[in-house]
């Protein structure tokens, strides 16, 4: 039971700490960005301390982080691509779902042996603490909330999303992590590389510009079609020049996720006009159910331009990060090649 005096001291300390935070926050924004950077070696391009404005509060990183914990897939992909030392990372969805043993994502260089693997579906704070990170990246932490943010902030400064989950473009997220790790220039380079990869595939495959796509997750009797740019997957497809097949996109109705339309298997004849139909599944049983459905299985597109997407590519597409783009395009390429040129 805290005595009134102890409570007062505690409050005083907290006020002091808050004041200190405020001060460092001010100084970072006031400091000229170029000065400290020029003194550093070429790799580090950021200026520390850096203050990151998160949806749940501000976090200040005092010096260039040396031990990085990543909670989201985009976080670990970018941290790794920027050459940071990752000490904790979310295990792949393949591993979470029990479909395979590989914990690392296919588009990330192998992480060190002693990496702490986190379950992204439910972050174990003690595990994060034990990895002793000096920064925690959670711009794509999909289980992050205010309470978890507060707990994590006691371990190390947290870099979360600025407004909402998936509320920023992948470029913004990349720059955000670049700033936090003091590698803004490297982040910009990654963006340029991703843009180049997109430009290259668009040049290789002229069918992409103005072509139509369907991208859905088949569940029991219903396909959740991602059609609107409110959905980042649909937005990614749009960046390739593709548009969601109007026959499906214009059906309207409620979707299970933002930017999606739930479509009954009965409507499968509408799918035939799509340039390509990518489909993901929560399980093999549901894939079998979709492919064996009496109506779906009889549609010409199923033998011509239907492409099942693997678990990791589907996860990457859920929040396509800059570092994953070249790999993702490689994965989608066989499907994209099917799109007839206009």
């Amino acid at each position: 039971m805290p005595s009134p005096i102890r409570r007062a001291t505690f409050a005083g300390l907290a006020a002091l700490a808050a004041g200190a935070l405020l001060l460092t926050g001010c100084s970072s924004s006031a400091a000229p960005a170029g000065d400290s950077q020029s003194a550093e070696s070429g790799a580090a391009s950021g200026a520390f301390p850096v203050t990151i404005h998160n949806a749940y509060g501000d976090a200040t990183i005092d010096a260039q982080p040396e031990r990085v914990a990543a909670l989201g897939y985009a976080d670990v992909a970018l941290a790794s691509a920027l050459g940071a030392h990752v000490v904790a990372a979310p295990e792949s969805f393949t591993s979470v779902a029990g479909a395979g043993d590989e914990k690392n994502l296919p588009y990330i260089d192998p992480l060190p042996e002693d990496t702490t693997w986190l379950n992204p579906m439910s972050i174990n704070v003690e595990q994060v603490a034990a990895a002793k990170p000096d920064v925690i990246l959670a711009t794509a932490g999909f289980t992050l909330d205010e309470a978890l943010y507060a707990q994590l902030s006691d371990i190390a400064p947290v870099v979360a999303y600025e407004t909402a989950l998936y509320g920023s473009t992948s470029e913004e997220s990349a720059l955000r992590i670049g700033d936090a790790l003091g590698k803004t220039e490297d982040a910009e380079r990654l963006i340029t590389e991703a843009d180049a990869a997109v430009a290259a595939i668009k040049q290789d495959l002229p069918g992409l510009e103005g072509g139509t796509f369907l991208y859905g997750q088949a569940r029991d009797g219903v396909v959740v079609m991602l059609v609107d740019e409110a959905n980042v997957t649909a937005k990614f497809m749009q960046q390739l020049g593709l548009v969601a097949l109007p026959a499906v996109a214009d059906l309207g109705g409620q979707g299970s996720v933002p930017g999606a339309i739930d479509v009954s298997f009965e409507q499968a004849p509408l799918f035939n006009d799509a340039g390509v139909m990518f489909m993901t599944f929560q399980s093999d049983a549901l894939q079998e159910k979709f492919e064996r459905d009496p109506i779906v299985s009889k549609q010409p597109i199923m033998s011509e331009r239907y492409v099942p997407v693997g678990l990791e590519a589907a996860t990457a597409l859920q929040d396509p990060n800059i570092a994953s783009v070249p790999w993702l395009l490689e994965q989608l390429r066989p499907g994209l090649e099917l799109i007839p040129a206009k």
Partner: protein
């Protein structure tokens, strides 16, 4: 007095006959609607064309490979759940004795999940068998717990609730230990009639028929039980066999229904309450009249499930629960 009684029985019989006829007409109309209504609407003219063999491939597939099996599945599952609910109701004299509430359906679904993930069961026989086994285990356990000593309704429902909790606890443990089970579980957690597995449908047909015959055979012994075990014995029925028989019939019916559609609650709960005003407390009449009512109820729920979220669909279990939950509240209110 005897005249008055006979008179009363005759009026109730004619009332039942009228209700029976009405139920049959409604059911026929629903079957027709079930063929025509869905994410895609089929016009009656197109149905006639298809019946005349001029339908075209697409229409034929939709009608005969999707809507027809789905309609048959709804009829079978609805009737099976109504029988199981009426039997459990009659035997326990408890208005809340529903295969869903007592955990029998979830036990059956859980058994299927285990069979699929751990033993790689894929065949229709395997699915039906594991569903019945799961239903049987839960039914036996709930009956054993709930009927030990003085048979009390409260005890039975508590035993059922406890069992549902245990099943869901074990279920979470299994999904945590084996994430692969999570996927299978997801498909088996909400009852759905969208694209039912037709081979499972055929495999479970004998089970449902057996359960139905047993249900009719048990009607008298169950009514005798209501007078107390001693009187029932005096009337020549064996209380133990009546209870055990109810357990067997319920396990077969709920197991078969779950194998076809996954766990669907509340149908078995609603039907007895709907039909009692027409049938009176006679179990035999309730089972007879409960057949078209249960089938019609689930078919209605499924038609709603196909249309409320157009162009998508909802699992029928969700609609059944949405229709059934208010019924529990009304039952509780009436009893209070």
């Amino acid at each position: 007095m005897t005249v008055a009684l006979r008179e009363a029985r005759r009026t109730s019989a004619s009332r039942l006959l009228g209700a029976q006829a009405l139920a049959a007409i409604v059911l026929l109309a629903l079957c027709l609607a079930s063929l025509l209504i869905g994410s895609r609407t089929v016009s009656p003219a197109a149905l006639v064309e298809a019946l005349a063999g001029r339908g075209g491939d697409d229409l034929n597939t939709l009608l005969w490979e999707v809507r027809l099996p789905r309609t048959i599945a709804a009829l079978l599952v609805g009737a099976a759940l109504a029988w199981a609910g009426t039997l459990m109701h009659g035997m326990t004299r408890n208005p809340l004795a529903d295969p869903g509430l007592l955990g029998v359906s979830s036990g059956a679904a859980f058994a299927v999940t285990i069979a699929m993930t751990w033993f790689g069961v894929r065949s229709a026989t395997g699915i039906a068998g594991s569903a019945v086994a799961g239903a049987a285990i839960v039914t036996a356990a709930v009956l054993a717990l709930g009927l030990r000593g003085a048979a009390s309704g409260t005890k039975l429902v508590l035993a059922g609730v406890a069992f549902s909790m245990t099943v869901s606890g074990v279920q979470s443990a299994v999904t945590l230990l084996n994430p692969r089970a999570l996927d299978a579980m997801r498909a088996w957690s909400a009852g759905s009639l969208a694209s039912p597995n037709t081979s499972v449908l055929w495999e479970t047909l004998p089970l449902i028929a057996f359960g139905g015959i047993l249900a009719f055979a048990l009607a008298r012994p169950i009514d005798a039980l209501a007078l107390g075990d001693d009187t029932a014995r005096g009337l020549g029925s064996h209380p133990f066999f009546a209870r055990a028989g109810t357990g067997v019939a319920a396990a077969c019916l709920v197991g078969a229904a779950t194998a076809i559609a996954g766990p669907i609650g509340f149908i078995g709960l609603m039907v007895p309450h709907f039909i009692r005003p027409f049938t009176g407390p006679s179990t035999g009449r309730m089972i007879l009249f409960g057949t078209p009512v249960g089938a019609a109820l689930l078919l209605t729920a499924d038609i709603l499930a196909r249309t409320v979220l157009w162009p998508g669909e909802l699992p029928v279990g969700v609609i059944a629960a949405a229709l059934g939950a208010p019924v529990i509240l009304i039952v509780l209110r009436r009893r209070a």
